[in-house]
Amino acid sequence: MLVLENIRVHYGKVEALKGVSMRIDRGEIVSVIGGNGAGKTTLLKTITGLLRPTTGRVVFQGQDISSRQPHHVTGLGVVMVPEGRGIFPELTVEDNLLLGAYSRYFKTRRSELRQDVEQELRRFPILEKRRRQLAGTLSGGEQQMLAFARGLMAKPRILLLDEPSMGLSPVMIKETFAFISDLNAQGATIVLVEQMASFALSISHRAYVLEVGNLVLEGAGEDLIDNPEVKRAYLGG
């Protein structure tokens, strides 16, 4: 479904991604793990068009989307939940959800959009309670739920999650990963970028390990969990 061909990305003079290739098939959860500065967020930003690759291609469902603008890419069904969740604090929970559907807003009937909002609120009862609250007043875990719900409002073909565990308490992290696993069980294709390697690997079909912009390892989730190379990538030595 999504293919990255030899992607090189530069931030000014620094090469953040050094020729990365990967592939994500429909219905998979694929994790991209690695320490800080490995280039994980850069990877997702390149897929969605926030960054342009210096060389290489991003191909989604056969279409080259390497130089597309982010709002186009979202419109094609590639939806990203950014690092830190990216919810709009001065808008209500409902409004955040509506904005999540912006890419299909003018092609869809209002009533259907309303239904979608209700569906998401049913999926997350806590959000239902807070539907008219400003999103900035929500706790970290609630914001994470809102970010997921908002992403789903776009009816994504593929969902890109950037460090969903960031800033969450250990309990919330477990819930979050359980939720991601459920989503996938319902048929969602997910690319998961994570620092919490063990959690991510335990729910992934396949995973890639990035280290300072290079792809150093690739394999099935359950295989990589016990791989000593993984531990080395995170803790040196």
């Binding site: 969605t48 926030l50 982010p70 709002h71 979202t74 950014p82 919810i87 709009f88 912006y102």
Partner: protein
Amino acid sequence: MEMIVQALVSGLAMGSIYALIAIGFSITWNTTKSLNFGQGEFLMVGALVGLSCYLTFHLPFVISVLAAVGVVGLLGWLLERLAIRPIRHLVSFGWVMSTIGVGIILKNAAMLVWGTNQITFPSPFGDQVVRVFGAGIYPQEIFVIAISMAVLTALDLFQRKTIIGKALLATACNREWASLMGIDVNKMIVLSFMVSSGLAALGGVIVAPITTAWVLMGSNLGLKAFCAAVLGGVESSRGCIAGGVLLGVTEFLIASWRPDLRDFSVFALLIVILALKPRGLFAAPKVEKV
């Protein structure tokens, strides 16, 4: 007593104009961290275009207003393309000078079209003064206050209730995240400049019957409106409205007491207030992240 009521009403009328323009500043500031320093000239062009439509082409007042807003709205689009977008990645605060530059050019263009004399813009509501508490008030002044309140309310509703309004707010909050929603951020920015310019034009057309319309009417008004936005806090629309009203009323109250101190006191007051509250009277506190 009549003098005070008169000052209050006139101050409120002028204050509403300041508020309209200040909100325009706020909208573009929030989406792009820049604003149109030539806004006063946009106001002036709006007033003169409206005047021409009304007097020269004998169009109904409402059409004249809409024409003015439309023309200047387009100027706003032009401004963003010529003076804001090319600068974005170049010089920080280059937009201050580039928008001043566009304003100056507009002023010259207006001079060539309309000459440099003051032109009387007859109010569509007539010159008969209305007596309230013994004070003489022009119906145009009441009209200004009413229309401004209506427009500001409409603007607020637009921002809070329509999806485009929310998309604008999202863009102002964080451009990256907004684009991830599928929002075309560039279009939002253009829209914010067009709305901002349109508001200035509206202000110009409805205030011209009170102040007379001429090529130099915009500079002072624009500066005072900027003053109002900064006073209230340019990031907050409530602040801009409050700043505008506060400034207008203060200005006219002082003018009714000591007309020679009018402008001086307004600007001197601003310096004092900003020294005490650097981000405006109604700004939310900000945490500086290193």
